[in-house]
Symmetry: C2
Subunit: 229 residues, 2 copies
DNA sequence: AAAAGAATATGATAATTGTCATGTTTTGCG
DNA sequence: CGCAAAACATGACAATTATCATATTCTTTT
């Protein structure tokens, strides 16, 4: 199950693909493979990271606790994502905590590998920049959605996002199953409000549910709703 | 008024300080100095940028229009900021528009200068990365504030932010004067709600106003309020 | 200086969303 | 299996915020 980075498919999806054979070898020698159980943290807000996590399988939520005790999920990181890059590069403490949403397999890569490669390989640096630029754009979009859209619209968007980014299983259910509370924390609302809206969507035929599982039944309808029609 | 980048103080505040003498010379030869009047755009959302803007003076709001016609200010860029980096690096269309909040002086730097320096000078690349990492962290914080704080708390934070980042004049008024509408668009609320809260803050002695100008009268009080006490 | 047009201000009201209470269902576990 | 705990669900109500209407003040233009 553990293997060499050089052969890792997951690498194709992230900035590590811009590393040279040599650099990859070093990473591979230094990396530590870890399994993380659903609900366990990769790291906590405010911690100092001495490396990044490359996600091989499973999903992690990156969230921040607010003074009132709720946490806002800022991002969901899946297979191929590199977690902790920002803090390592800025050489700051993390501003988010990372918790496994389901069982995960990750590789921990010491920051020295990342930082020295950044200094030596411009292609890698530019690749990391591109990823960060993309993340920044997404963050901007989230800000706009948070301030301009209603909770209902945001819930609709969340489902569309989940379909787009994690896909559906053979029966049409969203592959990534989140608790109602997690959905609420993604959307930025109270759990009860979220549940209420899910019930409403079900009643109106936008979605179907089976336990925690959710199936998008009327994508067009959800899209219109998310746009405000 | 126009001058060489090598001697520009503003450069000290942004990633251009990591450029070599030589690279700076090239930038200096290629750059175009521009004055932009209050209210005029530097660029519009969706445009393709062929360079970045280095702010020498004045302030620009970076905002995004939503379907309902309001625009959300995502960032205020002041002296020393480089605007448009994200789009140039990702080689994408801009996701935000930039409008001058007051009269501005900027230098337009063609993207070729930026991109080639990124490839050749790892120090520069890492410096840009650091800045982007910082922006990303700030964006995450904004997301959390948007979803977890009340409008009142966000208005309080906005004033504290303005003091921190733009300072006060000799009479204690915030140096950056924004219209009520702009403040509302920073905070993500309706203009009327924003005005109402400003009135309330005035009544409660948190702030003083004189026309559009705002003076923080009780910083402790505002801070407590922003934290939820 | 007067008129026109913004921007600011405030009231009244409606819509959205959060909170608390209380069931019901599902899940995990000895 | 059966029980406890957690997650889900829904009602009732309160708080927050948006919207619409309408003044009032400030700015700009002529």
């Amino acid at each position: 199950m553990e293997s060499r980075c050089e052969n890792c498919i997951v690498r194709q999806f992230n900035s590590l693909r811009a590393m040279t054979k040599d650099e990859l070898k070093k990473v591979s020698d230094a990396k530590v493979y870890k399994k993380i159980k659903k609900g366990d943290p990769l790291f906590e807000e405010g911690q100092k990271l001495d490396g990044v996590f490359c996600v091989r399988d499973g999903v992690s939520k990156l969230s921040k606790l607010s003074t009132n005790g709720k946490d806002q999920v800022v991002k969901l990181a899946t297979k191929g994502s590199v977690i902790g890059q920002r803090s390592v590069i800025a050489e700051e403490h993390t501003n988010l905590s990372a918790v496994a949403v389901n069982d995960m397999e990750v590789c921990f890569v010491p920051k020295e590998n990342i930082l020295s490669t950044l200094q030596r390989n411009p292609d890698f640096a530019v690749e990391v920049l591109r990823h960060m630029a993309h993340d920044l754009k997404e963050a901007d979009d989230v800000i706009v959605n948070m301030s301009q859209k209603t909770v209902k619209q945001r819930v609709a968007e969340a489902f569309l996002y989940l379909k787009q980014n994690f896909g559906e299983d053979k029966n049409g259910f969203l592959r990534l199953t989140l608790s109602r509370e997690d959905i609420a924390n993604v959307v930025g609302t109270a759990t009860e409000s979220c549940i209420r809206i899910i019930s409403e969507f079900k009643k109106k035929g936008f979605i179907d549910t089976s336990g925690k599982k959710i199936k998008i039944a009327d994508e067009r309808g959800l899209k219109d709703l998310a746009q405000g029609f």
